[in-house]
Amino acid sequence: MNRFAELLDRLAYEPGRNAKLRLIADYLRRTPDPERGWALAALTGALTFKHAKAGMIRGLIAERTDPALFSLSYDYVGDLSETVALMWPLDPNQKSGSAPTLTEVVQTLSTLGKAQLPAKIARWLDGLDETGRWALLKLVTGGLRIGVSARLAKTAVASLGNQPPDEIEILWPGLQAPYLDLFAWLEGRAERPSTRDPAPFRPPMLAHAAEKSDLARLDAADYLAEWKWDGIRVQAVAGRDQHGELVARLYSRTGEEISKSFPDLLALLRLPCAIDGELLIMREARVQSFNVLQQRLNRKSVTSKLLAEFPAHLRAYDLLAEEDEDLRDRPFATRRERLQALITRLSDPRIDISPLISFKNWSDLTAARADPASAGAGVDADAVEGIMVKRRDAPYVPGRPRGPWWKWKRDPMIIDAVLMYAQRGHGKRSSYYSDYTFGVWSKRDSGEELVPVGKAYFGFTDEELVQIDRFVRRNTVDRFGPVREVVHEPKSGLVLEVAFEGLQRSTRHKSGIAMRFPRINRLRWDKPPAEADRLETLESLLTQREHATMPTVGGGNV
């Protein structure tokens, strides 16, 4: 457990993806079975046991420490698990080597009764060091957040056997912690674990971002085009198990199963198939904006009220398998015909096919991209993020092959904002001020004032980063830890051209507005801050969108 704790500790501080991969792979390589398997389960979120309550942990520490010292410490540290981990009194009678293994912890937690739990946890804490106690408490209270996605952990384990991560995704639904068969295969000691999963995930095909010049080189007649919808990409799969029962699953683009959150979509999968499509919220036959989908995603419990208020819809664009037939090597045009036929047979209002955009040449498509509403998207135009261009004869190839699929996004929205605060980055960027908070003008009681509207930490070139960093260092007016406030007056300051994909209302921001994917588009050294945009501009953009997508929804104070 102490070694697993050391891994978690390092992962918690390490910002770099590659470094995280190496740390996890190194741990998995050096740690024996079944310990590493349970660690992999913890990292992929595959552990299921009832979590201990914070109150129980408080009780344990209260029995062992002076309340005044605890309260001074908790005040200083600010996190219960961490405070308890650090303050836990050492037991002088404890022999070294009595630290529990992760295996022991996981197995005990899944069987132990509630009454025995406090004493057990106390015994474990006695045997661990500071980091070990921290990790144990985070684990048992369910508060393990270490910035590692299941996908990253799977990528790391794949590297043990030089396998592509998608191979692990394919096997994953059929595997069980502590994954002895998986490790044995990756280390060349056994055959590949067989996957008998009736509804497996298939690694998705991804598109390259296109500029107009990329498309100009292609023959328009070889391609089909559809709208790129602003929802979430999903794979809806159904298949029969050995008893002939239909098993249906919904996966995210990265292969994580999200079935539990969308029972309404699962219900429509009444035939064996594997559909690639976009998950949207549909109200009165109109696609809702991403903001609305976001609200459903934010809710933890799936209630019938939620299902009624935010009805999920699958807009299908590809068919990867039907019954026992793998369709992935068929041409796209053929797969689409099969998809159309399947949808007709399903005959369910919750699923439809993503319509084609008719075009003869690239300038037709350019016009459609500029005005989706008139080019067939109609009332759904505001949920259009761009255009997908796909080769008619292309097979479905996992990964991001260059050529068959292109995504051609609509132009982002752009505003001019003023740099207000800058924060030092991490890792490679730790000597640079690379995270920027920017604001726009607004009239307040105290007069004209800049209100922060977003944060961005990419979009600029390395050279621009150096320039902004220099500006920050020379124009600092105040410091708070790693953050510097920089000059932002009407006549002096730095104007940033910020591009973003959308807006939504937010109670967490002083401005009441949050941006989607903001990034620094350009530095406007030429522009005085007084000429930057105003909050009203953002407000009106937001109202336009809301009215366009939800004219008839009752109680639409979203």
């Binding site: 050391e6 390092r10 918690a12 501080y13 390490e14 910002p15 470094a19 190496r22 740390l23 190194d26 420490t65 002076d66 005044a68 010292l69 605890f70 001074l72 410490s73 200083y76 540290v77 600010g78 996190d79 961490e82 405070t83 650090l86 303050m87 050492l90 060091d129 500071e130 030092r424 980055g425 991490h426 890792g427 490679k428 730790s430 000597s431 830890g481 790693p482």
Partner: protein, 343 residues
């Protein structure tokens, strides 16, 4: 006689009236007894300075030859008669030459410990327990959450990272006096035999440690090294250099920081550290409380740090305890940064 008749706490340090001297005064005085060379304790401009030879040397390196009107080197254990009092210096285990100062007057014994730690450090003499009636303690890490645990284990963590990220430089922030040399010595003790690189600001003091026969192995300057040479190396620098333009010569460093503060995650994160190393030259909570108990003192004065918890602990143990509120002691790093700003 009351303890306050021997040592009077003033905002600029403790003053011994019968002996006619101050201990670690923060303003110039006629006669100063200095516990150790950190700049918040050892300042220039006093009339006479009594300290260990190493502390005097360190002050000279830092402030130049004329840092005091006169100087007197005192050996550990040597008893010096000053007016109506006697004083002696005893190892504090904090940094090279660091001392606790024991003052005795009419049979009453007061020990001013300066900064101290009661754990092994290959670069300085081991802490000595000095029985006394009044113990003046620091409280830098005076909260029960500060448990420094096992410094050798932290060095192991650093070496495992160096092994895993072979192509990256490991930049280790460490205070220039004491911590930097201790980290190097501990790396050597753990078997690391590659050259270790240091920032120019710690060159003089590191060379001084080496001249006092402390074996630090091959220590090179970053300044003279080319980029390729620094790949996969351990580089020690003052904490402030990590966020400095200076650190840009390392293409993709692993940023470490060796300090007791690294025990608390929020502190480590605030610094943008990826590899926090809990290595401290101050006693941790267990060290402070164990030392206070072992001195047999019935009264405890707390100079600087997190006093509240330690005062509470003393009172719960029926010890008389008071804070001294001396202005100007603090974190070595804050003091160093301030000195830089003033210079």
């Amino acid at each position: 006689m009351r303890p306050e008749d021997i040592l009077v706490p003033t905002p600029s340090g403790v003053c011994c009236k019968p002996g006619g001297f101050h201990i670690d005064p923060t303003r110039p005085v006629e006669k100063a007894l200095i516990t150790h060379g950190h700049s918040d304790h050892a300042r220039a401009g006093h009339g006479a300075v009594l300290a260990t030879q190493e502390t005097l040397d360190i002050m000279r390196l830092r402030y130049g030859d004329n840092f005091a009107g006169s100087i007197q080197a005192v050996r550990y254990g040597e008893i010096v008669k000053l007016g109506g009092a006697t004083a002696s210096f005893h190892p504090a285990g904090h940094v090279l030459g660091s001392a606790q100062i024991r003052v005795e007057c009419n049979g009453l014994r007061v020990v001013a410990s300066g900064d101290y730690k009661n754990v092994a450090d290959p670069t300085c003499t081991q802490f000595e327990l000095v029985p006394c009636d009044v113990f003046i303690t620091e409280a830098t890490f005076g909260l029960p959450v500060f448990r420094h645990h096992d410094a050798a284990g932290e060095i192991g963590k650093l070496l495992r990272s160096v092994e895993l990220f072979l192509e990256r430089a490991h930049l280790v922030g460490a205070y220039s006096l004491g911590k930097a040399q201790r980290v190097i010595a501990m790396l050597r003790a753990a078997g690391h035999d590659q050259p270790i690189y240091i920032h120019g600001a710690m060159e003089t003091i590191t060379r001084y440690y080496q001249s006092r026969t402390i074996d630090l192995g091959r220590v090179e300057l970053v300044r003279g090294a080319n980029k390729a040479e620094l790949c996969g190396r351990i580089v020690i620098c003052p904490p402030s250099a990590i966020s400095d333009l200076w650190s840009r010569r390392f293409p993709d460093p692993v940023v470490a920081f060796a300090s007791g503060w690294m025990r608390v995650r929020a502190r480590a994160r605030q610094r943008g550290v990826t590899l926090p190393l809990v290595i401290s030259d101050h006693a941790d909570w267990d060290g402070l409380t164990a030392t206070i108990t072992a001195t047999g003192a019935s009264e405890v004065w707390v100079t600087h740090g997190q006093e509240d918890a330690l005062l509470h602990w003393c009172r719960a143990k029926s010890l008389k305890a008071r804070p001294l509120d001396i202005v100007g002691y603090g974190d070595e790093e804050d003091a160093a940064a301030q000195a830089e700003a003033e210079a």
